[in-house]
């Protein structure tokens, strides 16, 4: 109490937390972020109900996963960021071990051999957990180094990112590998990696990409890239998804065709309408206004994430919060851009809207970390 009085007298800005705020902080929950997440979840369930053609089972299952996610988020937020910082290397080692295990006893599903079916546990994808563990480790590693990071630190950072990414690529799950790598790279970028090095790295990637395309890329990856440039080279095969999804979006117009009235989705012209291409359903039924509404909801969550990163009291927390928020944005943007034909098709879901399992839980763990950072930091600074 003495401290608070002191601050009020010296700055004139301090407002004592109300009783409600105290309760929120006590249970380590950030109300604005929670509201944003719940709004997104509700909107997501609403769209999914239409996208799944009124299949209540699908919606109920998604709702259950979201509830489980909220519980998980609540549980994660109870631990202070220091707990995660302490355990970061161990979690990383454990994550790599699980990835190694997948190489030997992994189970294949949808073409990717990335599932673990351990006795006594529900089957899960270890690669998903790396989306959290890699930024944790990078934040742990760089926070204790002088910033901007020096070249040798960058080199080790690159190693720490590439090892899990490579293991996931071996599992034939390029999409997740890219996400894991990006979540690590965001930490490095936020840590102040010099721009000239950023651009240098970018140009290196750019210049080796033709080699990748010629020698390493698999047929379906090449196909996706060719399809991106000309969907009509194979309108009933490779180009079908993107053509139909653009028709759905375009025919939605400004106001949309109305809830449950999307002809493209309800007549099964949009493939994957419950998962990766759910934005097409939304855009068809709610039009441009609906998509703008969704972008606003995302922006709300993103801004809160940025605010939490900005307010965080130590570099580990900042880097972690910033990376989690940017990874979330990356998800959102890549999915929207891919469905509307702005980037080639990459199999990524639209966060909190698409139907999904493990991926949703991973998102909630990220939100839990954000809440942990925001609600544990304050106490100590006072």
């Amino acid at each position: 109490m003495i401290n608070q009085d002191f601050i009020r007298q010296t700055t004139g800005f301090y407002r004592p937390p109300s009783r409600v705020q105290k309760i929120w902080r006590l249970i380590h929950t950030d109300p604005p972020l929670l509201v944003g997440i719940i709004l997104l979840c509700c909107f997501g369930l609403f769209v999914l109900y239409s996208a799944s053609d009124g299949d209540e089972g699908v919606v109920r299952r998604q709702a259950m996963i979201m509830l489980a996610g909220l519980v998980l988020m609540f549980a994660v937020s109870q631990f202070s960021p220091h707990f995660f910082r302490r355990w970061a290397p161990s979690l990383y080692a454990a994550g790599l071990a699980l990835l190694g295990l997948v190489l030997f006893i992994g189970v294949e599903e949808n073409g990717a051999r990335s599932w673990l079916d351990l006795p006594g546990l529900p089957s899960f994808q270890p690669s998903e957990t790396l989306k959290i563990v890699v930024p944790l480790l990078m934040a742990w590693y760089l926070a204790s180094r002088p910033l901007p990071p020096r070249f040798k630190h960058l080199f080790w950072s690159a190693m720490m990112i590439l090892i899990p990414a490579a293991l996931i690529i071996i599992q034939n799950d390029t999409g997740t590998a890219i996400m894991v790598a990006m979540s690590g790279i965001f930490v490095v970028l936020l840590a102040g990696m010099r721009w000239r090095m950023v651009f240098a790295g970018f140009f290196v990637l750019l210049s080796i990409s033709p080699l990748w395309y010629l020698f390493l890329a698999q047929a379906h990856q090449k196909n996706r890239i060719l399809t991106f440039f000309d969907p009509y080279r194979d309108p009933t095969g490779a180009g079908y998804n993107i053509i139909q999804s653009q028709i759905a979006i375009g025919s939605g117009g400004v106001y949309g065709k109305g809830y449950g009235e999307g002809a493209q989705s309800h007549l099964d012209f949009i493939p994957e309408s419950n998962t990766d291409f759910i934005l097409a359903v939304l855009a068809e039924e709610f039009g441009l206004l609906g998509v703008l509404f969704l972008i606003c909801l995302y922006l709300f969550v993103l801004i809160r994430g940025f605010y939490i990163a900005y307010c965080a009291k130590d570099m580990f927390s900042r880097l972690l919060a910033g990376s989690i928020t940017l990874t979330f944005f990356f998800y959102v943007f890549v999915n929207m851009a891919m469905v509307s034909g702005l980037v080639p098709v990459i199999g990524l879901p639209l966060p909190l809207i698409s139907r999904g399992g493990t991926a949703i839980l991973t998102l909630f763990i990220g939100f839990g970390l954000l809440m942990s950072i925001h609600t544990h930091g304050r106490k100590r600074t006072n």
Binding site: S251, V254, L292, I295, A309, M315, F333, G341, L342
Partner: protein
Amino acid sequence: MVGKWQLKDHEVEQRLFNRRLATAAVLIFLLFFALILKLVNLQISQFEYFSARSDGNRLHSQYVPPARGLIFDRQGKLLADNQPIFNLTVVREQVVDLDKTLNLLSTLIPLSADDIEQFNTRLQRNRVPFSSVPLKYVLTDEEKSRISVNSHLLTGISIEPQFVRQYPLGSLTAHSVGYVSEINRDELDGLSEEEKENYGGTNHIGKTGIERTYEEILHGSVGYEIVEKNNRGQVMRYLDRTDPVAGKNITLHMDAQLQKAAEEALGEFRGAVVAIDPSTGGILAMISKPSFDPNLFVTGISSKDYSVLVTDEINTPLFDRSTNPYPPGSTIKPFLGMAGLHHEFVDYEFAIQDPGYFRLPGVSYRWGDYTLRTVIGGGHGHTDLQKAIFQSCDTFFYDLGNRMGIDIIHGFLAQFGFGDNFAVDISYARTGVLPSREWKMASRGEPWYPGDTINSSIGQGYMWATPLQLATAASIVANKGKVVQPRMLKAVEGEDYKPFIENPVPDVMVNDPDYWRYIEEAMTMVIHRPYSDEFRDYGTAFEAIAMADRDMSYRMAGKSGSAQVVGISQEILASTDIVVSDLNKDHGLFISFAPAQNARIAPQIAVAVFVENGEHGSSVAGPIAKAVTDKYLLEILQIDFASFEDVGELQQEITNPLVTQSND
């Protein structure tokens, strides 16, 4: 806060992080902005285009076939009905592996090579994409259920109900009413664009008979339906519909009962019967025998069934004998007699002394009397025109024909429809041949010889006429020269049908109307002039008709005829299946109308009977005409002739010809 941490400048690092965070925020806004621009492009700038694409995906216009008009007989009995059947259909675009699917199907239901061949022809036709093509018509309940159970293995295969023609009387109306069958490529190519559109939903088209003649009336106009289909081509919703206009129901002059009676009267003979109501020209019956089941053709006749029909060279069931020409034989005589009267080559008093043959002046060849071939020799003796008709005296007509010449014969007989098709709506009927100098020069490249006239005078030689033409000519005599062109269609949708006839055939005018009475009397004598002490003084058909039915309550005018068989192919002659002599027999013919010589009732029915290899016109074809006439007058019209008191008087007139005029 120990160790390395002391080396870090937290203030500088936080500012660096915050700058990076700000850069990220700007990038995020820029990227979202780019995304929104893309969405604006799709949803606002290209909205129209994508809307159209979306509608194009889901909306499909499909044809709704009209119900074909029904065909009734004059009593309201159905001659052509529409019946629902279930067809197995294929949407080619939805079938991944056609051969595999067909193989699977053939394990479920009997699917012959013929079915598959016909299916492939249908696939070759112009058709709307995603339209269904029939694979097999008329599935049984069991077949339907077997397909349904396996439907998950049969994408693109479905069972569709369809209304198809059904002919309740089967072979009885096969030639006259005709049949519908699948449209073939040629017929489709023959249609105009507009008509093609109208046949968009129709698989069938009238091929023969009435079905073909009145195709336009019976077909109706196609309807349209806008449906919403899903990705798999299933119809999800019906959005808009223009109802088809059903084809009109039509009523024929035909009487199914009479048709049946005619068929039965023909018995085992091959031949044809045509019956016409002289007052309306309405065709009451028109049959050709042997016939076939027209229902076979509706859903695609199997090649096996078809080959049975076309390879039967003797019975030729597909051949319509009622509208194809044969030598008319002596049935032509009353018309020649009328020509002689009108052109004053004979009169009531004129008579010849018939030696039994005719010889052209200066030519030694004798034209014998066919009628006397099988009976005792000699001629008819003193023979006037009436006797020449009721005794069918060839010599009289050889002489008359020779004196008139072919030009007069041609000119006069043409008025009765010989060599022409008077029928209003039987365009497929053949015209036969009414020979003339021009005709012979054009078709044979030879001049006309006097001998040709002699042959023509007894309905042989170049003279060919169809049973329909004979019945028409008989009805003109029954009408005393008034021509009412024969017709099938009586009413459309219950309203009397008045056909537009561009060039109506003029009535037959003769110098003295009494000639009609005279000829009618002669024809009545053919049937009613009894045996007497006079040598050869009875009607040729007396024994077979009037004597066989002594209670005959009405009078019938008629003329028998027999015609030589012109040619039998060597192949048939070599065949062991049939007694060749049967095929050598003459064709028997008979024309009649009744009631004749009735002051109260005008003739109600004119009949022509043709019996292939029937040998005798009077004894074989005559009773058939009598049976048909009886059926119509006594059973269908139920005329009670006994109630007319003047019947007795009329019987007197047979022996003492008097002028009688009927009051029609």
